[in-house]
């Protein structure tokens, strides 16, 4: 899948970079796709309630009532109808881009399969809701949609009498059919809400509301569009004639022309095949399993920080199972844990200063432990540096740290930047292992593990536990959140940071202390595994 993901990802990152400049990370629509989808849904729901008040079910009444709201009550009914249509189109647009983006970022496999798979019925439910809506207007487009849809459904051998026969001639069509249609157009979105709720069950702190500025801008755009280009009908349906030319809503009806080219069976095969392919995509190929985070009860005091920071709801607090005098302990659900290490970064016992006892935090990743990180840090900072030494902490999902190392620059990678306990920064600077610490990870707002960048920013700014200690000189810390296209800017930022460090007052004893620590580290190396 990499051959598909890589170009898509680069494309997204390139566009998102521009949107970051225009909107800023908080308002960037690409970082709010799911939330924008919800926002459009609520606009559709509210405008739909108003449209329903004016709507009349019946073969002639339906069209007339829609015409009334469009032309006679254009200032409210017409705007509501247009909002209903354009927000529905927005839902489809957000859904498709959201899906492509999650695919390109590889955020659909492994433990994330559940969210992806539950997203598949959302696609079809959204389309079904929109298509039944187009049907209700009972204009020429509705006639086309009704006939083509029912002819397609009739291919399935489950209907006693072809349902397309309901649309053979004007005398056959029954008013009650519109009542049924109205029921479907309301019932399908209600089912959609339930599936959306299920979709978010494994997502911690799901973002269901876009940033306020983005919401205001989006709504204003829809209102202006509704006023200047109101949604209109395409002439009353007439079953005695064939709707030869129709203006399709390509967001919902893009596949309909296929039914004129291919057989209905072929289109069923395409739809079924596509659904199946999307449903099994998380296992093509299966994601390499990594060991889940493990709790060490001797070092866990049940402070809840790990559970609070976990982006995947993989950690819960449960009553204590040992004799220690704490009320609860952390428990990891391996089926939800993606081994991002954010829990270890949040644990107050994850302090590299510990020398009297082994560095065993209350929660840690068995394959990428903090004791191994400390050992790597100490080993890498042994080498002689130039005028200044910078330690770069990066993440596996951002720009590869391996290419960042140079004279005086030591780079270490973590599963996520928030897997770095703030005490490590203190450790580097107070022990003189380097003159400055540079943090890099995914772009702000598009963190692979969702909250890595946000939690790191909050910890450094002392807004979120565990705090970075006050004694740590902030001028010796730099951050740069970047994606692949930002590599050059990242290099420049590191060089500029090193230059700035040179200008700072010399930190007495840095090199000597560093060497001393390195010596200790060398002696302790066998214990660090």
């Amino acid at each position: 899948m990499t051959f598909l993901q890589r170009p898509l990802r680069l494309g997204f990152q390139w566009v998102e970079g521009w949107f970051d400049l225009i909107f800023g990370p908080a308002w960037n629509p690409f970082y709010n796709l799911g939330a924008l989808g919800f926002f459009y849904f609520w606009i559709v729901a509210v405008s739909g309630v108003y449209v329903y008040i004016l709507f009349d079910t019946g073969t002639t009444q339906a069209y007339d009532s829609v015409e009334y709201m469009t032309h006679e009550q254009w200032y409210l009914g017409g705007v509501m109808r247009s909002l209903h249509r354009y927000a529905s189109d927005g839902m489809v647009l957000m859904m498709v881009v959201h899906m492509l983006r999650e695919f390109s970022l590889d955020r659909y496999r492994g433990k994330r399969w559940f969210t992806w798979v539950t997203g598949v019925p959302i696609v079809w439910l959204t389309l079904a809701a929109g298509i039944t809506g187009y049907w209700m207007v009972w204009d020429k487009l509705a006639q086309y949609v009704a006939i083509v849809s029912t002819e397609w459904l009739d291919w399935l051998p489950i209907f006693g009498e072809p349902i397309a026969r309901n649309f053979l001639a004007p005398s056959i069509l029954d008013d009650r059919f519109f009542t049924l249609l109205t029921f479907m157009h309301i019932a399908v979105p209600l089912v959609l809400v339930i599936v959306l709720w299920i979709h978010l069950q494994r997502v911690s702190r799901p973002k269901v509301n876009p940033a306020r500025g983005l919401a205001v801008g989006t709504f204003a755009m829809l209102v202006v569009l509704s006023l200047f280009e109101p949604a209109e009908s395409q002439g009353p349906a007439d079953l005695a004639t064939v709707p030869a030319v129709v203006g399709l809503d390509w967001f919902y009806l893009a596949a309909y022309p296929l039914l004129d080219i291919w057989t209905r069976g072929t289109v069923w095969a395409l739809v079924s095949g596509l659904t199946l392919m999307l449903a099994v995509l998380p296992w093509i190929p299966p994601m390499r399993r990594t060991k889940s985070a493990e709790v060490d009860l001797d070092n866990c005091n049940g402070c809840e920080r790990c559970a609070d920071d976990c982006p995947y709801n993989a950690i819960t607090m449960q009553p204590r199972t040992d004799a220690l005098p704490f009320s609860q302990e952390a428990a990891v659900d391996p089926s939800l844990c993606v081994s991002c290490g954010i829990c270890a970064g949040a644990c107050p016992t994850s302090t590299p200063f510990r020398r009297a006892s082994d560095l065993v935090p209350g929660i840690d990743l068995p394959d990428r432990s903090l004791v191994a990180l400390r050992a790597e840090l100490e080993r890498k900072t042994q080498a002689p540096a130039g005028e200044v030494r910078v330690v770069v902490f990066g993440c596996d999902k951002g720009i590869a740290t391996s290419g960042l190392e140079a004279q005086g620059i030591v780079a270490l990678s973590l599963p996520c930047i928030a897997a770095l306990p703030p005490s490590f920064i203190d450790f580097v600077l107070s022990r003189g292992l380097a003159d400055g610490v540079f943090l890099t990870g995914c772009r702000e707002g598009e963190c692979f593990h969702r909250f890595g960048v946000a939690w790191t920013e909050d910890r450094l700014a002392r807004r979120r536990d565990p705090y970075l200690r006050n004694r740590v000189p902030r001028e010796r810390i730099e951050k740069f959140w970047a994606a692949s296209p930002d590599r050059r800017q990242l290099d420049k930022a590191i060089v500029a940071f090193a230059a700035r460090l040179k200008a700072l007052p010399h930190r007495g004893g840095t090199v000597a202390a560093g060497a001393a620590i390195a010596q200790v580290a060398q002696q302790r190396a066998p214990n660090h595994g």
Binding site: L21, I22, G90, V148, R165, V224, A244, G247, L248, D249
Partner: protein
């Protein structure tokens, strides 16, 4: 980037999205059917005669049935296929047998076919055979029809109405 420039950029993006919505929510138009053609839709649901004639049960056979299920006739479920012919002038639109539906072949034959035809005056001939006869037809209908461009002419069938119906 200056705040004003950022807002301008956002306005441009919103304008672009609005244009995408305004454009693709109704265009480009799609030609579903050639505007200079007419359509004949042959759609009928018809139960042909049973494959075997019903047999009258003897008094003994009726007595052997459960009291609430007693009936005088025993009928096999299977039905015959429905043979249909539709001709427009000399052009054969349909000439084939449509099998009964249902797992036991006891349901009606379902027919739904569409034909693009040139508008104008045409002789439409409809024939159906729904019994076990091997020659001739049980229902026949012929009429000269005048078709307009984009007209939707429906061929239906109702036994209770005497046979074929044009809508």
């Amino acid at each position: 980037m200056a705040r004003a420039l950022r807002y301008f950029g956002q306005a441009v993006v919103y304008l672009g999205i609005a244009l995408v919505f305004a454009t693709f929510s109704k265009s480009p138009s799609y030609v579903h059917f050639p505007p200079d053609q007419a359509l004949i839709k042959v759609s009928l649901v018809h139960s042909a005669q049973r494959r075997e004639a019903c047999r009258r049960l003897s008094a003994k056979e009726i007595a052997e049935l459960a009291p609430n299920m007693r009936k005088s006739l025993s009928c096999a479920r299977e039905r015959l296929p429905t043979w249909l012919e539709v001709l427009l002038d000399d052009r054969v639109l349909v000439r084939k047998a449509f099998p009964p539906t249902g797992l036991s072949e006891d349901g009606p034959a379902r027919i739904y076919e569409r034909f693009e035809v040139t508008p104008g005056s045409h002789s439409l001939t409809l024939r159906m055979r729904d019994t076990d006869r091997t020659e001739g037809f049980d229902y026949e209908f012929q009429e000269v029809v005048e078709l307009r461009p984009q007209q939707n002419l429906v061929v239906d069938f109702r036994t209770e109405s005497g046979g074929f119906i044009l809508r």
